[in-house]
Symmetry: C2
Subunit: 404 residues, 2 copies
């Protein structure tokens, strides 16, 4: 239709928001002795522009970023420069009278070796350092605008979960059930992609685990595993019929606007033994305690040890965070990516900051029954954690549960 | 359930297949002076093992690969070694009496800068070079087994396309229509993920473009664009109602088993002007010609120039491969990834090889009507191209078309 693309960073209503993000980044750049950042990953381009475009963003230590677009004609607009290739970036800086940086940060953990090597050639005299961790640190504390987006995700995510009960039919396979939930998500506006950091984070629109499949390990870095239904994607639902006396854990994608919430709820097929119900209630108890423990200033490891202590006290340690294969974390930061900072694990001695957004997922895997537990996405405040995923948490039978 | 994962590379029926792939890689290693490859990307781990695991694969210039798993206990099995971290790899080689490589290939275009830097420390004395392009070259020619998998994809893909007509309802939005097709795909066994190389290849389960949305450029490296329905993913369906007098182009995911086919078909909403019908028939004519041109030994650029010449001759050049924004290729290799070698473009002077698998997509974007054209996935033979996606190609009206 048009040869310009829609660029939210040119809209007046986004300007102050993006200025704030840039300022937070520049503060850390100063502390770490970086004079420029050269950004190119999808995730950080989105963070710094509000959209995705082909090209790069240059952030100087002082002043406004340059948006360097390998794209349709936008060069006449403020802050936008059209380039054909990254190799032109240094001459753009020269033309603009911008000081050539001597220490440049690049996204070592978010771009390929080839792409980073190519960007390094832009300033052959400069020293280079990693900017991925700096950007992750800034992104871990959300702005008010970002929290409003995540809050919106939580509402949509909850609206979908309130319909899950209605799409269950007797003798469905786990995969058939998951496909109906995927459809509900998409119809609510779910984007249908999962943005996550790292090589081992492939998944369609989430994880749905029934019965013993919850105890199958997977090579992926998610909290729960699953066998999958094809060796090319050994994770998640295995395509078997969901049997009476088992649980089904639903941990599906909550990304509707570039941000996302992470939310897990469980249901029973028919009824299940007391041990599963007890473990499910233990997960809820852990969350109630952590909602008070998780104040701004608290050490991250405290959340982990508090959760583990409760699981131990309830005699449920052998099922906690997996049975035959356990993971060493009970939660993670979340935002543009599913796995942001901080990771909620014992050896993380950093502290929670106000307006971090974290997902907490104390889960249990009970052999021959399945996984139970609840996951919510929370905002960190001075008083504790504010839940952004408020759908009911109780363990009810599918097809018989309370309609919301 | 179990603490071992299912490892296809240990199965006797996969052994000769994987031996063949390793042998093809070792031949190129010899030509390029590489004594070892250290593999870690999801895509190439799958290529060399038949599944995904956490860890690395070491391929020596001669002999069998070592599967180095950071995973549940598999160390007692032939060719499998359990490691905790990549830093242990050189001592594993030492223990096994394997010669320390002096020239090592790493996947520069498939792994992050951080991950490659970490692997480089494994053999501090070695020289390093890129192995991504070598592996892409080997993967571009498919084995008989791989072709059988892609053939299976084509059948499933076609089975889904034969049901598309039935899920259309008057006044649907493009997105509602796409969601129903996604559900059909998933129920047929589509894995629900897109494996593609590069930073700009995000998409849910494919592209569905209606009317003028086909002429919206996108920052992604797909052949067609689309506005999307959220600035965080500016590609594909825009959520508007599909109006009479427009076309809808369906280019949805064909990945069912770790491999994939790429297939595009178009439908009319009601009826459309002759120019769109003519362009659609021109696309089919181009494919019929290329099916004969594309013999093993033909130069890749010949496919591109032949297609462009036909479009010109038919007076349709201004609509060919986009209208307000054009792309410079008419097809691409396909296999584990959507965008494998070779890229079918004018400046590609390499030659087609027998058992390459390529998708050809001569498409047209007609202003105010939409996109038309056909895409098929083909196997290259000595006699020309064998179509692996044989669903009917004609342009029919949705809701009134011939039921297959």
């Amino acid at each position: 239709m048009t040869d310009t693309i829609s660029l939210p960073f040119l809209r007046p209503d986004m300007k102050s928001e993006l200025d704030l993000r840039v300022k937070n980044i520049q503060t850390l750049m100063g502390e770490r002795g970086l004079e420029g950042l050269l950004i190119g990953s999808t995730v950080n381009v989105f963070y710094l522009s509000g959209t995705i475009f082909k090209g790069n963003i240059y952030i100087p230590l002082d002043g406004s970023p340059l948006y360097l677009l390998i794209s349709p004609s936008v060069s006449s607009q403020e802050g936008c420069i059209k380039i054909r290739k990254p190799e032109q970036i240094s001459s753009v800086l020269e033309e603009k009278g911008i000081r050539m940086p001597e220490a440049v940060g690049l996204e070592y953990s978010d771009m390929t070796y080839s792409d980073i090597t190519r960007l390094k050639a832009c300033f052959p005299e400069a020293k280079y350092g990693d900017a991925s961790s700096l950007l992750r640190e800034v992104r871990s504390v959300k702005t008010a605008y970002e929290i409003s987006r995540i809050r919106e995700d939580g509402k949509k995510h909850s609206a979908v979960y309130s319909m899950i009960d209605k799409c269950y039919r007797e003798d469905m396979t786990d995969l058939e059930f998951q496909i109906e939930i995927e459809r509900l998500l998409r119809r609510e506006g779910c984007l249908g992609i999962l943005r996550a950091s790292g090589n081992r984070m492939e998944l369609n629109l989430g994880s749905l685990l029934n019965g013993d499949n919850a105890d199958n390990p997977s090579p992926y870095d998610f909290s729960m595993g699953g066998h999958g239904f094809d060796p090319s994607l050994p994770v998640g639902a295995d395509g078997l019929t969901m049997k009476h006396g088992t649980t089904v854990m639903v941990d599906m994608n909550g990304g509707f606007n570039g941000y996302q919430t992470d939310m897990t709820r469980c249901w029973m097929i028919g009824d299940v033994p007391e041990i599963a119900k007890k473990a499910h209630e233990c997960s809820r108890m852990i969350l109630r305690v952590l909602e008070k423990t998780g104040v701004a200033g608290a050490e991250v490891s405290l959340l982990y040890t508090t959760a583990l202590d409760i699981a131990k006290k309830e005699g449920l340690q052998e099922y906690f965070m997996g049975h035959s294969h356990k993971v060493g974390f009970i939660g993670h930061g979340i935002g543009i990516e599913l796995n942001e900072m901080p990771v909620i694990m014992e050896r993380n001695h950093s502290v929670l900051k106000e307006n971090m957004v974290i997902a907490l997922e104390p889960k249990f895997v009970i052999p021959h029954i399945g996984a139970v537990g609840v996951e919510n996405t929370y905002r960190v405040t001075a008083e504790g954690l504010e839940n952004l995923t408020t759908f009911r948490e109780d363990l009810t039978s599918l097809g018989q549960g309370v309609r919301e």
